[in-house]
Symmetry: C2
Subunit: 254 residues, 2 copies
């Protein structure tokens, strides 16, 4: 049996999220349809992160198994993208792309073997609304104080119980302890970019962290309140959930 | 009677073009719906350019009339965008924005009084396909020689009969003579941008000019052949019609 690891880029705006669901268009469902077409039999994939509806990916990962790969691995990427192009055609130009394929050991697991994940959150911080950015960023008209946001962000780094930064409705997890290695915040003119690297994230965790930092940046809460929110282990103490559109799964490291 | 001129920005990917049509979502139809909601009676608009399905606008123009504007003109933009937000809501975040409103003379006509129009065409000239750019540019994997394209572009400037650069199916025009003031071509890494300014354009004229220049840039035709195509007054002598996605109506000057 050959196990193949894919690196996947997608614009999340045309999908109801990653996870296969009956009757709606999902990233997993679309890739499975393309693989099944290509190999002429039903093929299932296992992804690393179940990105929500509207969330984008620059480097999602997923694996699938095949009894014996009959085409050279070097040709697989192109064959798979051609199949994806055919499958996505009725929805418009191809909005999910296989960037890389590689053979991995049959014991390799895309989720359990992931060491860390990097998410990017993009905010457009300018008065004027831009229709072209509506599906790709979070528009905040009032000026964000990124210095205050950085102070608050540092309090969220490290190994902590992030129960306050978790939405109900996700897959139940045994523990709400995670490690955030770094939160970087940078401004480039109107764009504020937040990069969060961690060993794993609870349901909506990145978006709640961003929403909380935004409230700090707007002066609606003090940077110190973020530490208190963390210690409270109570969702009500953290800020709002930032919208899906601004979120990008950048990379997964094994 | 008050005549109001609007400057409009829209992402064309969610619309079946500018022109109102029964049963499909168009930019004109959407703005008319918002205006009718705001003023509580049916209001029609006259636009400058009937952009095709998938074509974007950074500075489209249109007018509407109202017996007497009862809110200050300074509040109209916000009121109209709020109405547009409500009208577009079921399709997602607002994809058409009123950027400016101004009172004009009742004799002002947005199309007949237009002196020149500027279009921008965006090409992504790089091997890797990018799902995020699929609705906003023309992807060409092979390298384009922009020097050759510029030589060809110069042959299309001036006052000419552009019958070769017109698709069938547009509004019949009395004359196919137009003036192109300038065609500029610039490269910024992977992006090739073509700016075309003229006093008016025939149906699909910008896209056929771009398609023809692309064929020159790929070495599929000589720069001189573009002059021949122009003189032939025959659509078959020009190149392919570049896709709508890369086209932006930038501004209209009165």
């Amino acid at each position: 049996m050959d196990r193949i690891l894919m690196t996947i880029k997608y614009d999340g705006s045309g999908f109801f999220g990653w996870q296969r669901q009956e009757g709606v268009r999902t990233v997993q469902g679309t890739i499975e349809e393309a693989l099944s077409m290509l190999f002429k039999k039903p093929i299932k994939i296992i992804g690393t992160s179940r990105t929500d509806r509207g969330v984008h990916a620059l480097g999602q990962r997923a694996v699938f198994d095949i009894d014996e790969l009959k085409i050279p691995i070097s040709n697989l990427k192109r064959a798979l993208n051609n199949a994806l192009c055919a499958v996505t055609k009725k929805y418009g130009p191809q909005d999910v792309l296989i960037q890389e394929v590689e053979l991995v050991e049959p014991v390799f697991h895309p989720r359990y073997d992931a060491k860390d994940k990097l998410y990017r959150y993009l905010i457009r911080n300018t008065r004027e609304y831009d229709p072209f950015e509506r599906l790709y960023s979070y528009h905040i008209a009032e000026h964000l104080d990124t210095d205050d946001m950085l102070v608050a962000a540092e309090m969220l780094e490290g190994t902590n119980d992030y129960a306050s930064f978790q939405s109900a409705g996700g897959t139940p997890r045994e523990s709400t302890v995670r490690t955030i290695y770094s939160i970087d915040i940078g401004r480039d003119n109107d764009e504020v970019e937040i990069l969060i690297r961690g060993d794993g994230f609870l349901y909506n965790m990145v978006r709640i962290i961003v929403g909380t930092l935004v409230e700090v940046g707007l002066g609606k809460r003090k940077p110190d309140s973020v530490k208190e929110a963390l210690l409270a282990c109570d969702r009500c103490e953290a800020g709002h959930t930032a919208p899906a559109e601004g979120l990008y799964l950048v990379e997964i490291t094994y």
